[in-house]
């Protein structure tokens, strides 16, 4: 018997590439059904016109995540209420790839380039969150420039930051510098303030988009909660 929690656990590893949050937390998973070794998932998005490339990545990643759970033989993931639902669902479940699903509308290598751009953005944003907390504790930007990963106290934010670093193939050893650019180069002392200033704009952008998308999803589906959706941040801190 495949446990629901195992599937939800696997799905929580699937992120919206733009919003840098799990699809479960965002409320994008609307149905989960398990019949024997068959798993069916339904996904929903904040708008009918959400960008089809990101939508495709989430549907494809969700299917792969479900298939990675031991015991699952078949997985079907369906995206509802989207202008390109037909192309996306067909492309993912019949394994045609994005190029195959949108034949003639793409150019160059599938979606990996797009994914990399957003992994880099997520990485910079997570780094800024971590550094912002250190600055609030009284560290100076110069000190940050000299810090190494091994000096960081354990925290959830650190774990997320290290995960994003790993995804980009960057050094996560204890002796590696804390503040590096998305290519892994240490940010020099005289550039660290500017680096973090840009990083802040990026973080504001990602967090704001996530807020907007949560709001639109809630409006679109009348507040009906998703499967495995966590309460909103405001409610958690209240």
């Amino acid at each position: 018997m495949i446990e629901r929690d195992k599937i939800l656990g696997a799905l929580s590893g699937v992120r919206d590439p733009e919003l840098d949050e799990p699809v479960t937390d965002l409320g994008f998973v609307s149905h989960l059904e398990i019949e024997g070794d068959d798993v069916s998932i339904r996904l929903r998005l904040p708008t009918y016109f959400c960008a089809p490339n990101f939508a495709y990545l989430m549907v494809a990643d969700a299917r792969e995540a479900v298939l990675s759970v031991p015991g699952v033989r078949r997985a079907r993931v369906v995206l509802d209420d989207h202008y390109a639902s037909g192309e996306i669902n067909g492309g993912v479940n019949e394994e045609h790839g994005f190029d195959g699903a949108f034949s003639g509308e793409t150019e160059g290598p599938d979606l990996e380039g797009l994914r990399t751009i957003f992994r880099r953005k997520s990485f910079v944003s997570r780094q800024e969150q971590l550094c912002r907390a250190l600055l609030a504790e009284g560290r100076s930007p110069l000190e940050l420039a000299a810090m190494r990963l091994g000096e960081m106290p354990p925290s959830q934010d650190l774990d997320k930051y290290l995960e994003r670093r790993r995804e980009l193939g960057l050094d996560v050893s204890e002796s590696a510098p804390l503040v590096v650019d998305p290519d892994g180069n240490r940010v020099p002392e005289d550039a660290v303030v500017q680096h973090l200033r840009f990083a802040k704009t990026l973080r504001v952008s990602i967090e704001g988009n996530a807020e907007l998308c949560r709001g639109l999803l809630e409006t679109r589906y009348g507040g009906e909660r998703g499967v495995g959706e966590r309460p909103e941040r405001e409610e958690v801190t209240a």
């Binding site: 016109f49 202008y83 150019e107 380039g113 840009f198 704009t201 504001v204 952008s205 988009n209 639109l216």
Partner: protein, 347 residues
Amino acid sequence: MYEKDGEKYFVVDGHVHYWDASPENTTNKYGEGFIRCFYDYHKNLSPEEYLWSLDKYRKYSEEDMMHDLFEIGYVDVAIFQSTYLKDFYNDGFNTTARNAILKEKYPDKFILNGQFEPRLGEAGLEEFERKHEKYGFTGIKLYTAEWHEDSKGWKLDDYWSIKHLEKCVELGVKNIHVHKGPTIWPLNRDSFDVADVDEAASSFPELNFIVEHVGLPRLEDFCWIGTQEPNVYGGLAVAMPFIYAKPRYFAQVIGELLYWLGEDRILFASDYAIWQPKWLVEMFVDFEYPEDAEFDDYAEITPDIKRKILGLNAAKLYDIEVPEELQLVTADQGTGFDVEEKPATDR
């Protein structure tokens, strides 16, 4: 004009529509999806007392528009940003021709912006010139995610886009409003990417590029090009209504924009009829940053900075005459990033 606590504000609404998404004008499921998506934006971010029924929202009257903008909305001049969507709506969503109905009736209240379609090539240029002759606009609105036959979008640095921008220079159409959307060719790239605006802005220093929705959802990329190109502006449509529903986020966005672009390159807009100027203007004039560390590196937004954003910046771009009593009270505050000294670091 809006007045509060002895301060007066000239108001230019930089982005309004007179659209028709009635069932009779809706061509297909895409048009249906589009207006419902717009309606969710309206429902999600408006105060309750300003909510409309979907029915009214699909097609509102001239009286509604004149009342909401000019009778109660404090707007002195509003700018029509034509949005065609001819593949979604039989007669288009709000074409230059439809907006012109109101422009002709109330010539002092509206500025009418046109549009071009680069994918029509040579024929597009001729059509653009013909429309310009007819309407005499000095600005245009471009929606790069617009569908056209098999195409799902285009870029500002495409060959025929450049030809059309050259035509803009020739005709004296100097204000280019750009709106990014979710689709574009090739579909596997980031369609919201504003790199092509950067290209166009450096190639055409004599034109002003007003990036609608301040580049959202790519605020960071937009702020970056704002530090690089002095002729890039940010239109606040869609960013404004957060002031009510998500005030902390609004504060961050406006803080970032002022930090990178400065007070001279940000333009107020309601995106009517998605939102109404009345409550946006009232809340913006009352706006202050929340008092916590997140907002420490932002300078205070003075009444003069608000005056610029609400109307004076747009008045400058469109040569709108502003009465003496509504001009700035003090000299330039000198906020924002000095574009002459571009940041040295590689991002």
